[in-house]
């Protein structure tokens, strides 16, 4: 019996102990100059694919675009891979001069062709670039027409080879209608011949007719031109005052053509990835740590003072704070700081909190009762006391009268927003629902993992109960399911938030154009769309802001599509020996701007 016991335990033990060599017991962070935590595991490092602020932090450390940010004031553009640029008189053509010594981290020269390749990769839809529309092709001359034509080509091919359900097919056809040109006539003809449903037959006929009017569009027609290996020209669709900020966005970063072509989507795997920024990935253990080291091929090595950085990947902010307080971490950004402790941290000298260019708001689904009625929407908006929400959250937020956070030069054109006025709110609601008992059941869509959205819900529910006598129910979903419900507009009232992608009010206003992908309310107004379009073509800042302000007035006061709740804050904790952090509205913290002074303590 004893031998069996021993044997059994021996087998289990030997199996488990056998994993010791693979468990890799070694301390990676021991000799790092800086140990920081930006949050959890980054999902992708492909500059064209990423959308999250966490991924931006990694990608901005690993890659660099034509334009970068000024270390002293990160809201201003500064030379990146391009050491200078020229702007034509009509402000439509930008010619970038690339540094001759710019290289990829494998030693290959970085040329204008890498930029062209990266941009064409997005336009040709070789990657799932979520920012293709908002940050990319709409700014390039003929970019939209080319992209839509390529999209039509892709969807036509998919319709020929697969047979999607009718709802999806309709979605495809709507998109094809926008982009089909004479080049697509054969495929359209083929699909029309095999189509049995008369409803779709008619649509094919209409698309065919429109496509015949549109000449084919080629990449040569797009405003991207490589003039020499170190000179690239971009022609804009419209004059865009904030275009340099756009050029500095990761979507515009170059990718190494040879490497991407060799490995396909696997090019971002740690063993394959080749970068052009100030740092390279040395080691990476998922959900644990990424070790960055200074890139020896970076064009300005003297500007990068950190040699080795340990990026802790932490899923629980409280673990990050424990590490920080015991001396294992030097620098935490907001996503690594427990939100419910910010109130206590405010008194500490190593804690910094400041406003950002972002807003949290309520969305109405305007496609169905009760919120298809503007008076009901206004009644809700006017019976929410934003001050109370901010008091409950206690993260340093400020109540938001408007969607666009305070922005230099724009404030005087901004609407006031609807006031907190329960008296009037009740009157408005009475117009539509004289008997409040008849008010339909309303659910508040929110994210289950976020404590904040639950707190917001509780405050709003109590206020609506008190001020209007109506009851709203919570509907908490995981992030992915929440987004899915939002994009299908399957909700009544929903939590929403937006972080400005670039430093201009337009990043908030153009979200709500008719059928805009980030609109997600079902609302649309041709006048609003026209204003946004008009503003995009104006260069005079005052005129442009005046029009955007007018549009915001419609969105908030006249139509009341969203209810701004508060402006978010950003915060960080850092030890006194971490230098070079400049608090800014845009959450732009480039790792290459940081350094540590000699007073740094070693690992405990």
């Amino acid at each position: 019996m004893k031998s069996i016991a021993l044997g059994f335990f021996g087998i289990v033990g030997a199996l488990l102990l056998g994993f010791l060599p693979f468990a890799q017991l070694e301390q990676w962070e021991a000799d790092a100059d800086l140990r920081l935590c930006w949050g959890t595991e980054p999902k992708s490092l492909d500059p064209a694919v990423i959308t999250g602020t966490l991924e931006f932090k990694y990608v901005r450390s690993l890659f660099e675009g034509l334009v970068s940010y000024d270390p002293k004031n990160p809201l201003l553009p500064a030379p990146g891979i391009a050491y200078k640029w020229e702007v034509s008189k009509d402000k439509l053509t930008y010619t970038f001069y690339l540094r001759e010594n710019a290289r990829w981290s494998n030693g290959d020269p970085l040329t204008a062709y890498d930029f062209e390749y990266a941009w064409r990769r997005i336009l040709d839809q070789k990657v799932d670039c979520r920012y293709a529309n908002g940050i990319f092709y709409i700014y390039i001359r003929n970019g939209e027409a080319y992209y839509l034509s390529k999209q039509a080509e892709r969807l036509l091919k998919s319709l020929i080879t697969t047979s999607p359900p009718d709802s999806k097919k309709q979605e495809y056809l709507n998109a094809i209608a926008k982009g089909a040109t004479q080049a697509h006539l054969p495929q359209l003809q083929q699909l029309l011949e095999t189509e049995n449903n008369p409803h779709f037959q008619n649509q094919y006929k209409r698309i065919l007719k429109n496509a015949q009017q549109r000449p084919p569009i080629h990449f040569e027609d797009v405003g991207i031109r490589v003039l020499s290996p170190h000179k690239i020209q971009v022609t804009l669709q419209n004059q865009t005052p904030y275009i340099l900020d756009i050029f500095a966005f990761p979507t515009w970063f170059p990718v190494p053509q040879k490497v991407v072509e060799k490995y396909g989507d696997d090019w971002i795997h740690p063993q394959n990835i080749v970068v052009n920024g100030p740092f390279v990935i040395k080691k990476w253990k998922p959900h644990y740590m990424i070790i960055l080291e200074k890139n020896p091929y970076y064009h300005s090595p003297e500007k990068v003072k950190l040699q080795k950085v340990a990026c802790f990947i932490l899923d629980k902010p409280i673990t990050a704070l424990n590490y920080y307080d015991t001396g294992y971490l030097d620098y935490l950004t907001q996503s690594a700081i427990p939100a419910d402790l910010i109130e206590n941290l405010k008194t500490r000298p190593d804690f910094t909190i400041f406003p950002t260019f972002s807003c949290t708001y309520l969305r109405f689904n305007v496609t169905k009762p009760p919120f298809n009625n503007v008076w009901v929407r206004k009644a809700i908006a006017m019976s929410i006391d934003k001050r109370e929400i901010v008091d409950v959250l206690r993260g340093g937020e400020t109540p938001a009268p408007t969607l666009v956070p305070p922005f230099e030069g724009y404030s005087k054109y901004q609407p006031k927003g609807l006031p907190y006025d329960p008296e009037t709110a009740r009157k408005y609601l009475k117009k539509v629902y004289p008997d409040i008992q008849k008010f339909p059941k309303v659910e508040f869509l929110m994210v289950s993992s976020s404590v904040k959205t639950k707190q917001i819900f509780t405050v709003i529910r109590n206020q609506l109960k008190k001020n209007l006598g109506i009851t709203i129910e919570p509907k908490a979903h995981e992030w992915q399911v929440y987004l899915d419900a939002l994009s299908r507009i399957q909700y009544e009232l929903a939590y929403g938030g937006w972080i400005g992608d670039y430093m201009d009010p337009n990043t908030f206003i153009d979200m709500f154009i008719t059928n805009g992908g980030n609109n997600r309310t079902g609302w649309g107004n041709p006048r609003y769309d026209a204003w946004v379009k008009k503003a995009a073509s104006l260069t005079n800042r005052e005129e442009r802001f005046a029009i955007l302000g007018r549009a915001e007035k419609m969105l908030l006061e006249e139509e009341c599509v969203v209810v701004p709740l508060y402006y978010r804050t950003d915060s960080f904790l850092h030890k006194p020996w971490v230098k070079g952090i400049v608090p800014n509205l845009g959450e732009r913290y480039l790792l290459q701007f940081l350094w540590v002074d000699s007073k740094r303590k070693s690992l405990p």
């Binding site: 289990v12 468990a23 994009s487």
Partner: protein, 307 residues
């Protein structure tokens, strides 16, 4: 010969179980609401089709299933949907040894401490030592590790500064997570040992041993323990599987790069390939440990040999 048939039968049954588990999972995960590729910046939902096509999600379900089974046989689950820089097997190969090593330490600690405490409690039955050990044991079962872990971190890392608050790499970083992970198992094992020992101590051969004038410690730890420990051995199989699959909270709180968290995050992110990969590995493990337990029954309990 009988043993060979027994083993073959068990093996076939195990393969069938794993096949059923992953097939069912394949169907079920596709019923979870939510799209793995949705993003808060989805201006154009049709962009998602690009990535869906790359992952083969535009193909008919049966084709997808066939591709998945073909991959699973050679342990290739393709790229992770959420962590685009990794293949599912990369993540498992890196994470699993860490979880396994941690689990091994925890289980070893649990077995030694549990057996010792259980034997002690049985020997000093109904004394204050018995009551105290059993009280601690009940506490160990009742307190969830998401409560114990932060408590230990607060006491031993933040206040006393004996151990690092989290991390992986040094031996001092192993202490707290191993203790937290093993606590419930210490509790179970000591209860099992105590029960087995009490039964064994009532047997005639113990009286004989005592009558021979053997030292009491020898009676308890050599003669009685041999029989008293049998229930513990059969418990070790499921315990090993449980400790490997149940390390999510400990891994998250203590920042350990194990595999436990993929099991949870993959579901939250609707990462189909990672979910299926993790389920496959875990179902293999569960089946394997049950297989070991079955074999041990074969030796321990003669009744299983008869059919």
């Amino acid at each position: 010969m009988k043993l060979v048939y027994f083993l073959l039968g068990r093996l076939l049954a195990s393969i069938a179980v794993v096949f059923c588990v992953i097939s069912l999972s394949f169907v079920l995960i596709r019923q979870i609401p939510g799209d793995p590729f949705i993003s808060e910046k989805d201006a154009n939902p049709l962009v998602r089709e690009v990535i869906r096509a790359k992952y083969g999600l535009d193909k008919p379900p049966l084709v997808q299933y066939w591709n998945f089974i073909r991959g699973a046989i050679v342990l290739d689950f393709g790229p992770s949907y959420t962590y685009r820089s990794w293949d599912v097997m990369d993540l498992i190969i890196m994470g699993f040894p860490v979880s396994a090593f941690l689990g091994f330490l925890a289980l070893t600690l649990a077995t030694f401490l549990g057996v010792f405490a259980g034997a002690l409690a049985a020997a000093k039955r109904n004394s204050w030592a018995d009551y105290l050990t059993m009280a601690i044991v009940v506490l160990g079962i009742c307190l969830p590790n998401f409560f114990v872990a932060p408590l230990l971190v607060m006491i031993f890392s933040l206040i006393l500064m004996w151990f690092p608050p989290a991390g992986w790499g040094g031996f001092s970083q192993l202490v707290l997570p191993v203790i937290v992970l093993s606590l419930p198992y210490i509790a179970y094992i000591s209860r099992l040992t105590r029960a087995g020992m009490i039964e064994a101590l009532g047997k005639d051969y113990i009286r004989t041993a005592r009558a021979k004038g053997l030292k009491e410690s020898k009676v308890i730890f050599e003669h009685a323990l041999r029989n008293g420990i049998v229930p513990v051995i059969t418990f070790l199989g499921p315990a090993a599987a449980g400790i490997l699959t149940g390390s999510f909270i400990v891994e998250t709180i203590f920042h350990i790069p194990g595999m436990g968290k993929y099991f949870v995050y993959a579901f939250i992110n609707k990462d189909y390939s990672l979910i299926l990969g993790a389920i496959f590995i875990y179902s293999l493990l569960l089946v394997f440990f049950n297989f070991l337990v079955d074999i041990s029954y074969y030796f321990i309990d003669p009744r299983t040999r008869e059919n």
